[in-house]
Amino acid sequence: MGAPIVKTPIYEGPLDLLLELIEKRKLLINDLSLASVTDEYIARLNAMEAVPIEETAHFVSLAATLLLIKSRSLLPLLSLSDEESKDIKELEYRLALHQLFKESARDLGKQWEQAAVLYEGTPPELPPFFLPDAAITPTSLYEAALILIEEFPKTESLPSVAVQKIISIEEAVEQLSQRVATALRLSFRDITATTETDRKIVRHGLIVHFLALLELVKQGIIRATQEGNGDITLESDTVSTPSYE
């Protein structure tokens, strides 16, 4: 009677994908490296098919933060709210933790395979006795069985929080496009004031490209939201797992 055998998907989640892109380029985790992998992250996200809707929400939410980092790297003029700056720091922190634990999981895996297990003993047998408990009655057993059924994990469901998140990301990308466009107009004024424009023109080419990318992301998000026609149920710790030994 072994535990159920399960298959491993290519990516375990958005942090995993992002880490893979950064490690592939042998980069450290910071604003700069995150900005440089944004395009590839979004390309990989768009290429993904049949990701469970909840996973999509996590992937897209991370994409929104990456786009913010990228916008900022292209347009230093773009000012970030406190919450946005915090999101970016949080992503870097999560990614660093994820990297650390992935590494340690590899070492742990080796130890798991090679370790000499410390086996259990068997306590001395007692002379046989019968010691019931007044609490054991047909009714109490029936009630206990009902609890087992009720507390059994339900089929995987999309938490409503994630749905809200997708919708607000859609709005956020819309706003980001507008902010990038505004910042772009502002810096065009800068250009007319200077003579040395070559470098900046190259930069503006990049930004136009980036705006097109934002548009693609928007479409991707809409596609993702439309896929969510399944049942929406709330999921919480108390429903999915029993709370005692």
Partner: protein
């Protein structure tokens, strides 16, 4: 104490029952002489657990001076309320048994080994050999437990068919679901 003594001690602890010199020699792969010497050295050991040797059979036991206090602790331990964990484990076995330990763990979502040990010790459940897996066990209710419940057959429990069916269906649904996910 040397390595041979450690080996004998480990085997006695693992199996938790009296064993003859011969059995110990077979299980450990030590010669009769080595086994004898290992036992002699274990007998010297001071501690809360000591080796009892009648010259033929040996056993690990609580040191004599501690026996009374330990007996009290054991009695208290096994006379406690069986609690929510105990009731749920019994419910799983009565409605859907006989079940293996991992099947019970699966239904409850928590490890049931300690709970099962207590229920067996108290004579509420008993271990029977698994029909398909060697050296593996299934748990089923004792006749004393059924008598305590005032029934002769588990089918007489409230809503027996419905509950049994639901437990079966849930387990099947969960198995399919886990097969699609990473664990």
């Amino acid at each position: 104490m040397n390595n041979h003594a450690y080996t004998i001690e480990a085997i006695l602890f693992a199996l938790g029952k009296p064993m003859t010199y011969q059995e110990l020699s077979n299980k450990s792969g030590l010669s009769a002489q080595e086994t004898k010497e290992a036992i002699a050295s274990l007998r010297e050991r001071q501690g809360g657990v000591v080796l009892i040797d009648d010259g033929h059979t040996v056993e690990l036991r609580i040191a004599g001076a501690l026996a009374p206090i330990i007996e009290t602790i054991q009695t208290e331990e096994y006379a406690r309320d069986i609690g929510k964990a105990g009731l749920e484990t019994l419910a799983a076995v009565l409605y859907k048994g006989p079940l293996s330990r991992s099947e019970i763990d699966f239904i409850r979502g928590v490890n049931s080994s300690q709970t099962l040990r207590t229920l067996v010790m108290r004579g509420l459940l008993r271990k029977v050999p698994h029909p398909r897996h060697q050296r593996s066990f299934l748990f089923e209710p004792t006749t004393e437990l059924l008598a305590h419940l005032g029934i002769t057959d588990t089918a007489a429990l409230p809503h027996y068919d419905t509950i049994r069916e639901k437990l079966t269906a849930l387990q099947a649904a969960y198995e399919t679901q886990t097969a699609e996910h990473t664990v």
